[in-house]
Symmetry: C2
Subunit: 233 residues, 2 copies
């Protein structure tokens, strides 16, 4: 290798072999992809602090609260990228910061959720959300099991999957949770997107191929376990 190179670099890009320039091209547009999950942890930690009556918190104290090896420097970096939120020498105003983070995370409003697949897992998630998370509301439940369809859960009637595209559009659900077998997951995901859902939380152990504009998170139990077994092996 290393004969001639650098012939067709990616269109408009400096590509000068200079030391290393760390090109911040244009905007100070720190994209904060990696920080989002942390912002949620900060939000939760700050809510706890608020409940305890703490009004001001330093990055150090917050780091101790959220744990997970997140440093105070990391916290300051993350927060400062959202604007000037703290007071030098003092710390951060807890109430203001909770507010600010809630806005960024979309937690300053309520969300309606559709669950497809109401076996043990679907039921577990629904129960958890209804009891523990006041911002999230189960607004629709679908399954194919004839023993379930037509029955109620907390006053909500479980509908057949075939009815999804007819019923769901009127219910203004932003998020769909998929807890069906892997073989059915793609079909279900397509139906949900079709019915106007903008984001999916997928528990089926399969990878969904969807339009890039819908957000998808997948939680894969087997994958998580195998990461653990790798550590033990």
């Amino acid at each position: 290798m290393r004969t001639l190179r650098n012939t067709k670099r990616r269109s408009l890009r400096p590509s000068n072999g200079k030391a290393r320039v760390r090109t911040r091209r244009g905007l100070p547009n720190r994209s904060l992809v990696a920080s989002i999950p942390r912002l949620f942890l900060y939000h939760r930690g700050l809510e706890d602090a608020l409940r305890e009556g703490t009004l001001v918190v330093t990055s150090h104290e917050l780091a101790k609260r959220v744990g997970r090896g997140i440093s105070s420097t990391q916290i300051r970096k993350d927060l400062s990228s959202l604007g000037t939120l703290g007071r030098r020498g003092q710390g951060y105003d807890v109430g203001m910061l909770v507010q600010k983070l809630a806005g960024i995370l979309g937690l300053d409003r309520d969300w309606r959720i559709a669950i497809v697949g109401f076996g043990h897992l679907g039921r577990a998630l629904a129960t958890f959300l209804e009891l523990r998370e006041e911002k999230f509301h189960i607004a629709a439940i679908f399954d194919t099991d004839p023993n379930l369809v037509g029955t109620q859960w907390r006053g909500l009637t479980i509908s057949h999957l075939d009815e999804l595209e007819r019923i769901l559009p009127a219910l203004a659900c932003g998020i769909g949770i998929v807890t069906v077998p892997a073989a059915a997951a793609q079909l279900v995901a397509d139906k949900l997107i079709n019915a106007g859902i903008g984001a999916l939380l997928n528990f089926a152990p399969t990878s969904l191929t969807l339009d890039a504009k819908v957000a998808v998170r997948s939680i894969d139990l087997a994958s998580e376990l195998s990461i653990l077994t790798h550590h033990l092996a």
Copy 2:
């Protein structure tokens, strides 16, 4: 800033301001931390291929199978870091690769799991594992609910949490799954570690502080949802 600097760099480290040297200090020890979750996806994709009777796959075909935006280049990079596994011009031998990945992931043996917290979620996970994952076996179940303790699940008696440290050591469980309320999670985790568990899968929405030698993965439903709401917001 940028007055005097570079006074107390991290003890023994070159720190010469040269262009950028990309120091591979010593061993070709590509640590493959980020690749582990992908290796599992490859393993699953390859098992599927094997079931369909496919004997050889190219990195392109595998990339299509595993989806999730993983490129064929990425796959080749990951695999080549494990040794020379493919044949140039041909592809990868599926059977051999499944074997190799299973070895690395620790999926070439069975694992015994203890579940603490047997509400809907615990039950859902147990059922999923017993039905779908033949390498993982539920070997112990603990809860505090007097209505549950003493009852059976698939022939396994549910024990009280207080009995955990007495019962568990003999059962040779490598992995513990924690599906208890956040307030109880740290206590439960400590008990599990105490009883010899080496890895934890935590579903409680709280961060555990544990000895660094135990592996922990946390699955946080609220966090996943808020990542989605961030995208929608």
